[in-house]
């Protein structure tokens, strides 16, 4: 089995990247999406619903990508780092609106 070729730590880290890293990334994307679309004039509920629908498709894609990408460090960097960055941007937009 192919999994025998990788260490246990690497495997756990992959799974964590897909599930938890993916969650952080989707959270950030959703926050940025809602705040951004609202700032652009979409109604709050529309922005909320649209982002909720897209969120799970994004989650699906990043989940699969976490296992397909060769470089695990890059996966963590993009998912956790990107998620945090988008969350901060969302809060900044919110701050500007209120």
């Amino acid at each position: 089995m192919a999994s025998l070729t990788v260490s246990r730590f690497h495997l756990v880290s992959r799974v964590a990247a897909a599930v938890l890293g993916g969650y952080l990334f989707v959270w950030g994307a959703m926050a940025l999406g809602v705040a951004g679309l609202f700032a652009l004039g979409m109604s709050f509920h529309d922005a909320e619903h649209l982002c909720a629908m897209l969120a799970f498709l994004v989650y699906l894609v990043v989940f699969l990508w976490s296992f397909a990408a060769p470089d695990l460090r890059r996966v963590w960097l993009i998912l956790a780092g990107g998620g945090a960055l988008m969350s901060v941007l969302a809060s900044l937009i919110q701050h500007a609106l209120i």
Binding site: A2, W27, A35, L50, A52, L57, L60, L64, F67, A90
Partner: protein
């Protein structure tokens, strides 16, 4: 991580599919049963075996029923820590009354929320609920568990595991993994189109299992994808509470703007005001729906700020004539009956959202579509079960040689979640017919019989899968199939004995809720018997015959 993309995807499919598959099969099975949750309620509560009723008169039936209600003990107990001072013995200020029904409900569910004096958060209410016979307004016995709509249905999305909402999260992860398994499954199989039409029951067991796994997965792929996806979207607010945490300030800003726009009061005036005729408001709402060519049954009726000058009545339509879950709510000033607001037509995003939600929750009236949902869900169960079996079949000889127990454990868990789940379900229905009518905590006993039977089935599964460790067939499968057949027939017979509603009578009267549940169980019994017979015939190990293609799956 692995040698190539396809192998990585196969790894994800195998291991995530296996681990969360045990959850998914529960979700699929009880989701399928939930399509007919109201009908299962009728079977389980014989006093309610009468025709579905429309929303009754508010002025004559509902108002007296609401006035005699009080919050539940549990709700009051849960509130106790969030109040300065003692709790009153009687709650005098109802804030919200609501009544909800569907085109399949003979009985009507009511709920009422009450203001709590000295509550730390004045907006927090205590809640009471009641089920009435809408023809008379009489309350049904409190302690009757609606097995379909209050046990099987929540089991489908929360596993009835409420501690820290853990059940929701497990089901959510399982639904995501369902999407993942569908995509990775397609990636694994290059010859997808050919496999769509391939089923070779005569070939080796492993080969036919894989064929059936692919067939049920691929033929119903859009169905599986849509249900996993829409299920996630319905609970998006739980899984990603972004707008109630990080973006709460933005949400509040929007609420204030929204309240200004709708013109509906957002607090009590504190001045008492008598209510005008709600029946007249319902008639006006129906007149307005009729103008738009929409079916006019009321699905949801709510009074906000009861008997207050700011009170208003909201009347929502039961969406029986379309897939989208819509309400076309019309709101009236409670004291005068004048229309305050008519919900505007939904935006494009809202329409998509309502369509997806409605597709999953099926409030529409279309019996054939309902049955297609059941078969789609059961096909998902077959897909999962064959997945488990394929996993076991592929490894059991290897594990037997190496003295490992992996295949045996997976087989035991498969027995537990496939036939064991049926044993638990039937045990609950049997208990429902056997427990004395006035037993205190009757509903709790029904739930104990469900979980108790499932635990027993699990113990049996682990004990009686020992031969798998020697690469043989587990006797647990056959024995539980026989148990399922016996219990299903028992449940049908008990229904006859305790209520007199045998199949000849329910079929003659065309009373499908009970006839349908009985027939469904009898069909299950026949299938279980056939399966037990087949398993009895192949109790010896089969020769190993791996083709190259199967080896590639490893």
């Amino acid at each position: 991580m692995m040698q190539n993309f396809r192998l990585a995807m196969a790894w994800v499919h195998t291991w995530f599919g296996l681990l969360l598959g045990f959850v998914l099969i529960v979700v699929f099975f009880f989701g399928s049963l939930s399509v007919f949750d109201r009908e299962i309620d009728r079977w389980a509560i014989p006093e309610t075996r009468f025709e579905p009723q429309p929303m009754p008169s508010f002025d004559e039936i509902l108002r007296p029923a609401f006035e005699s209600m009080q919050p539940t003990e549990e709700s009051v107990a849960a509130m106790r820590g969030r109040v300065d001072g003692p709790m009153p013995a009687h709650f005098d200020t109802p804030i919200r009354w609501g009544a909800y029904t569907t085109h399949r409900d003979p009985v009507l569910g009511l709920f009422a929320g009450y203001q709590v004096p000295n509550a730390k958060n004045p907006d927090e209410l205590v809640w009471g609920n009641r089920t009435i016979d809408p023809r008379s307004g009489d309350a049904l016995p409190d302690d009757r568990l609606k097995i379909g709509s209050r046990f099987f249905y929540p089991l489908h999305y929360s596993l009835n595991l409420h501690w820290m909402d853990l059940g929701y999260w497990i089901v959510g992860l399982a639904a995501l993994v369902m999407l993942v398994a569908l995509v990775t499954g397609v990636i694994m199989h290059r010859k997808l189109f050919r496999e769509l039409f391939t089923f070779r029951p005569g070939k080796s067991k492993q080969r036919s299992l894989l064929d059936l796994h692919n067939l049920t997965g691929v033929v119903a792929l859009p169905f599986h994808f849509m249900f996993a996806f829409t299920g996630l979207v319905i609970f998006a607010g739980i899984y990603f509470p972004v707008t109630h945490t990080q973006l709460e300030p933005l949400h509040e800003l929007h609420e204030v703007l929204d309240a200004e726009e709708t013109g509906l009061p957002h607090e009590r005036a504190g001045k008492p005001a008598a209510m005008a005729s709600v029946d007249a408001m319902v008639r006006e709402a129906q007149r307005r729906w009729a103008e738009r060519d929409m079916a006019g049954e009321v699905g949801f009726l709510a009074v906000q700020y009861v008997d207050d000058a700011n009170g208003y009545v909201s009347v929502y339509r039961a969406g029986t004539d379309r897939i989208a879950l819509t309400g076309e709510g019309i709101h009236f000033k409670a004291s005068t009956g004048e229309v305050l607001r008519e919900d505007p037509p939904p935006s494009v995003v809202e329409r998509v959202d309502e369509f997806l939600t409605g597709l999953h929750l099926q409030h529409f009236r279309h019996w054939m579509l309902r049955w297609l949902y059941v078969f789609g869900g059961l096909m998902g169960c077959v897909c999962l079960a064959t997945g488990f079996l394929f996993f076991v079949e592929k490894r059991k000889r290897q594990h037997a040689k190496r003295g490992e127990s992996g295949a045996r454990v997976v087989d035991a868990l498969a027995v537990t979640t496939v036939t064991g789940m049926l044993v638990a379900t039937l045990a609950m229905l049997v208990a429902n017919r056997l427990l004395p009518d006035h037993l205190p905590g009757r509903g709790d006993w029904e739930q104990y019989s469900f979980w108790g039977a499932w635990l027993l089935a699990m113990a049996h599964a682990f004990l009686r899968t020992a031969p798998v460790a020697r690469a043989r067939l587990a006797p647990a499968w056959r024995e539980q199939c026989l148990a399922v057949a016996v219990m299903a027939v028992t449940a049908v017979l008990l229904n006859w004995v305790t209520t007199g509603d045998h199949l000849l009578r329910t079929l003659r009267d065309g009373y499908w809720p009970v006839a349908g549940v009985d027939l469904f169980m009898l069909t299950g019994a026949v299938i279980a018997l056939l399966a037990a017979r087949r398993l009895g015939l192949r109790r010896r190990p089969l020769p190993v015959a791996l083709t190259d293609e199967e080896a590639a799956h490893a």
